[in-house]
């Protein structure tokens, strides 16, 4: 037993590693299918994407191995450093990197490219965990409900929001990578686990609901409905001055959201506005233009049927009807060739991994590890939900990859680092006890 404890891989969660390996392997199979071409059948052909992906996979395995042999303390200690360095890289890349297909988020090395924004995910997660694990004790100690305490709580929340907002804004504004930027919203789940007031979430959800409603309904109608709800609620609650003020504040906030929707909507970029229109079925969607991606994705998945058309037998994905089928729309290949069975298995595997991470997070003694674990789960979940959601028409099209599945070195590396740091932290939980 003692010998085992000294082993490098002592305490490493085998189930997680196995799930990870399985997902990566399945991902590679589907990339092969998506770009399959009779002329290039050699799987090691590095001019083809599946050949390159093999390089990415083996290098990711090396990175995972390195993370496992590095002392866990390294990540805790250098959390802020990682964060700061990568943030700088994100700022620098639009100026130093080479432009690829109009995107300013890449550092290129020959045929291969790296997106620093991808690595911002684990760095931010580390930094957030570090910050929250330091302030956590204070939060837990204060049980009074005085205004000053609430403000105190909010102070930490605001700092946390800055940790998340910085990369979000930099990536969005400087690199114009909506998909990479919006991921940082996912950390709200971590914040919620660590004590973020439910009111925030309710407020957020209601705002989102109102946003959607005001896009699909007449604005006046919606405001009248809101006012009526307010009026009715005043009838049923204790009509204290405080309550009335609260109702009035909520009502005006709601109206503000409704009225603001148009402003926000009209100030979105064209393609984003169209994506929202496509999702909500607003106006007439031209399936040859703005609706093309989503429609073709749905056709590919829908034509898969129960068992799918069989490996390499997909016509929609193989013959390029689905755009970005090896990266953001890789799930279409799964849906077409493996059918309902295959796509459910993939989603359930991703879910299993996420729930496993949550389970592991909850068994941590160190808040840092727990918070980091939740960050991992949140980021993975966000990617899966948005990526799969857009291919089946439940989410607007946002260019983010399916974890471990999509083609691409940066995203595979980034998810690998994100996950394996946590596996290392988890393996270390017993060491910390001693």
């Amino acid at each position: 037993m003692r010998k085992n404890e000294n082993s490098l891989f002592f305490g490493v969660d085998k189930i997680t590693v196995a799930t990870y390996a399985l997902l990566v392997f399945m991902g590679w199979l589907n990339i092969y299918a998506a770009v399959f071409n009779e002329d290039h059948q050699n799987i090691f052909d590095t001019t083809q994407k599946y050949g390159k992906q093999l390089i990415w996979i083996s290098s990711a395995a090396f990175i995972a191995f390195m993370i496992l042999i590095i002392d866990a303390g390294f990540f805790t200690v250098f959390s802020y450093v990682f964060y700061a360095v990568l943030l700088l890289a994100c700022v620098a890349v639009p100026y130093l990197g080479r432009e690829v297909k109009g995107s300013r988020s890449w550092f290129r090395f020959g045929d291969f490219g790296i997106q620093p924004a991808e690595f911002m995910k684990f760095a931010t997660n580390l930094a957030l965990a570090k910050f929250l694990s330091n302030v956590n004790i204070e939060v837990e100690d204060t049980r009074r409900k005085r205004l000053s305490d609430i403000l105190k709580n909010y102070k930490n929340t605001i700092i946390a929001a800055i940790f998340l907002g910085l990369p979000l804004l930099i990536i969005k504004l400087l690199q114009d990578e909506t998909g990479l930027a919006i991921v940082f919203v996912a950390f709200i789940i971590t914040l919620y686990r660590e004590g973020l007031s439910v009111n925030f979430l309710i407020f957020g959800l209601l705002s989102a609901l109102l946003f959607v409603l005001s896009l699909v309904m007449e604005q006046q109608t919606l405001i009248i409905v809101l006012a009526s709800i307010a009026a009715v609620s005043i009838l049923f609650i204790k009509r204290s001055r405080k309550n009335i003020i609260i109702v009035a504040v909520i009502l005006s906030a709601a109206c503000g959201v409704v009225l603001g929707t148009n402003y926000v909507y009209n100030h979105l970029e064209d393609h984003q506005r169209i994506r929202i229109d496509v999702l909500l079925g607003r106006g007439t969607v031209n399936l040859k233009k703005e609706g093309y991606n989503v429609n073709q994705a749905k056709i590919a998945i829908g034509s898969g049927g129960f068992f799918g058309k069989g490996y390499l037998q997909g016509t929609q994905t193989k013959y390029d009807f689905v755009p970005e089928q090896d990266t953001d729309f890789i799930f279409c290949t799964v849906g077409e060739e493996w059918g309902f069975v295959g796509s459910s298995v993939v989603i359930l595997l991703e879910l299993f991994l996420i729930l496993r991470v949550i389970f592991m997070a909850e068994r941590q003694r160190s808040p840092f590890s727990r918070i980091y674990g939740y960050g991992v789960a949140s980021v993975l979940f966000f990617h899966v939900a948005v990526n799969v959601g857009m291919t089946i028409g439940l989410m607007p099209v946002i260019g983010i990859p399916l974890p471990f599945f999509s083609y691409g070195g940066s995203s595979l590396w980034s998810f690998t680092i994100l996950l394996f740091i946590f596996i290392k932290l988890d393996a270390n939980r017993l060491v910390i006890l001693r």
Binding site: E140, R143, I189, Y192, R193, E194, G195, N295, Q296, K298, I299, A300, I301, G302, S303, G304, G305, F306, T315, Q316, K318, Y319, D320, F321, G335, E336, G339, F340, S343, S344, I347, L348, L351, I354, L355, I358, A361, E362, Y374, A377, F381, A385, V388, G389, I392, G393, L394
Partner: protein, 615 residues
């Protein structure tokens, strides 16, 4: 909040994740299993169904000689999207079209129901010259390709009416019949029309997979679901191509028809309609429509009008044979019956009129074609005691006549089966008023005049039934379909006429024989073959009489029953009888022993100077 409270949030978070996944899987279930639309869309995306056109069946004559075959023809097709940058000017030059025309066609090929990504026909049935010129330079015209189709070809320029022609299917037909798509060919008349389903074969489909750029990527499942085109079946016709050709030659310069039937089978040996046209004229794209228009507007000769099947002629005296048979069957007359004739039918003051001849018995009345005799016979039949009411007597006569084929649809294997007309009681009631007409009123029916009309094919059928002594087979011009040479069973069924009294036939045949040997039909007399015939000179309200001659030969075991109608030619004995004689000889002996008659008949031009009023 304490830590344990916050720890509970793990359940909420996990539950949230699980709920989202359940929603997604339900959505997948809907997309992939319940909703079929996407499967259809996927097929439309990636599959192209390419039609393989089958080869249309050949047609052979009764001796295995080729009547119709196919020749390859080429359509120029274009995929507009791929044609960008083609050498337009050079192409226009080859096709002999203007640039504007090019642009117009390109536009048509790009718009619905065509599509810029799909192939559509740019120029149909390229002429061999253009095809040769194009083939060399095709590589320069990106997006253009030639598609092989076939067109009909006729080794001999005959039998146009009988064979019919093939043309593009009409929009209405294409909409109704799922087999056809616009632009497909279909038999429009004649045998091509009535045997369309046998001749056309079955189209095959190749399922080809294409990528998003419409580039072919290979066959779906290596062709597992492809269907091969099944070639059309060959037709073995009963037509004797030599006889048909000879008949058309004899009828040159005359309007009318010759129909010959083999009595023992009902097989049509020839079906001549004159004037005819070269069937090769109605083949091909541009030329076809140009020629068709020309033929269509020839209102003087009506060359597209199939007289053999659809011209309703009064049968004239040839009809007397039927009266003679019915009256004998009813025991009203016998071989020795004699009726008075004073240059006409005495009871009606000499009408219908007749020529001078001695009083005759039954066979003699046929040989001399006595009008008075058959006026009496007609009255005997309609006014016989069995039917106290005249109308019943008339109907009895009419039904007996119809049992030989007149006024019925014979049900041949050719389109446009016209019944002819044996007027009904109702018809005459309308004209004369009920009870205001009697046998003498309509007595000229007895000699094949008045409102009585037949088409030549029906008359030939009447002759065949007489030759057979009481039955006929439905006339047909195809004796076998496909390698198995199958024949519809309706052509194997004997139809018996009202007259089954064999003695009656002996008497009538005696009359017919002497008609040819020494009577009005002398011009058809042959040296070693006993021909039985009957002349007819059908009065015709539109002009000069139609010359009719019906005959069969030999008398025993008849091989050919034949009818010849020549419009506005005068006496049947003068024009139709010699032609029938030549035809019989040609068919039975394969040679002609009277070249002088032949020459006279071929050279006779009876069309000039006649004026056809609208028919």
């Amino acid at each position: 909040m304490n830590n344990s409270n916050l720890s509970d949030r793990k359940f909420i978070i996990s539950a949230f994740f699980i709920v989202v996944v359940i929603i997604y899987i339900s959505r997948l279930f809907y997309l992939q299993i319940i909703d079929d639309q996407y499967k259809l869309d996927a097929r439309n995306n990636a599959f192209r169904y390419r039609t393989e056109y089958p080869v249309r069946g050949y047609i052979y004559d009764r001796n295995g000689k080729l009547m119709v075959y196919n020749e390859p023809s080429y359509d120029l097709i274009v995929t507009p999207k791929l044609a960008k940058g083609a050498d337009t000017l050079a192409l226009c030059k080859i096709l002999e079209i203007t640039r504007d025309e090019y642009i117009r066609r390109m536009k048509k090929a790009s718009q619905a129901p065509n599509s810029p990504r799909k192939e559509s026909v740019f120029e149909k049935q390229l002429s061999p010259k253009i095809y040769a010129a194009l083939q060399e330079k095709l590589y320069r015209f990106k997006g253009f390709d030639v598609q092989a189709r076939t067109v009909r070809k006729y080794p001999r320029p005959i039998a146009a009416h009988l064979l019919g022609y093939v043309g593009e299917v009409s929009k209405e037909k294409a909409a109704k019949d799922p087999y056809y798509r616009e632009g497909d060919y279909i038999g429009i008349s004649g045998i091509e029309r009535s045997y369309e389903e046998e001749l056309r074969g079955k189209k095959g489909t190749q399922i080809v997979m294409v990528d998003v750029h419409n580039k072919t990527k290979g066959r779906f499942m290596d062709g597992l679901y492809d269907t091969l085109a099944i070639p059309g079946k060959a037709l073995f016709s009963s037509i004797d191509i030599e006889l048909q050709e000879y008949g058309e030659k004899l009828m040159a310069g005359k309007k009318g028809a010759i129909v010959a039937i083999e009595p023992s089978t009902g097989e049509i040996l020839c079906l001549v309609s004159s004037p005819g046209y070269d069937p090769n004229l109605l083949v091909g794209g541009k030329e076809r429509s140009r020629n068709y228009t020309k033929l269509y507007y020839d209102s003087l000769n009506l060359p597209l009008f199939n007289r053999a099947l659809t011209a309703m002629y009064p049968p004239g005296s040839t009809f007397k044979l039927i009266d003679a048979l019915i009256a004998q069957q009813d025991d009203l007359i016998n071989r020795h019956t004699v009726y008075p004739c004073h240059n006409g039918y005495p009871p009606m003051g000499g009408h219908p009129a007749c020529h001078s001849h001695p009083s005759t018995d039954l066979p003699g009345s046929i040989a001399t074609s006595c009008n008075s005799y058959y006026s009496y016979v007609f009255r005997e039949i309609t006014d016989q005691k069995k039917y106290p009411k005249f109308e019943d007597g008339y109907n009895h006569w009419r039904d007996a006549v119809r049992s030989f084929g007149p006024n019925t649809k014979l049900g041949t294997d050719l389109p446009y089966d016209k019944p002819g007309n044996v007027p009904s009681v109702e018809y005459y009631n309308k004209i004369f008023g009920k009870g205001h007409w009697r046998s003498n009123t309509v007595v000229s029916l007895g000699i094949g005049q008045a409102e009585l009309t037949l088409v030549p094919l029906q008359m030939a059928n009447v002759v065949a039934s007489i030759a057979n002594r009481g039955y006929f087979y439905t006339p047909h011009c195809i004796k076998g379909v496909g390698v198995e040479k199958s024949l519809d069973k309706r052509f194997k069924e004997k139809h018996f006429t009202y007259v089954q009294n064999q003695l009656a036939y002996d008497n009538v045949l005696d009359g017919m024989q002497s008609c040819v040997d020494a009577g009005t039909g002398r011009a058809s007399k042959l040296k070693d073959i006993i021909v039985c015939g009957k002349t007819g000179t059908a009065e015709n309200p539109h002009g000069k009489d139609h010359a009719v001659f019906s005959a069969f030969a030999p008398r025993e075991k008849p091989k050919i029953a034949i009818v010849c109608f020549i419009e506005n030619a005068g006496f049947g004995g003068t024009w139709s009888a010699p032609i029938v004689g030549l035809m019989i000889e040609k068919y039975l002996t394969r040679k002609v022993t009277r070249p002088d008659v032949e020459k006279r008949m071929i050279e006779a031009n009876l069309i000039k100077g006649t004026n056809l009023l609208g028919r």
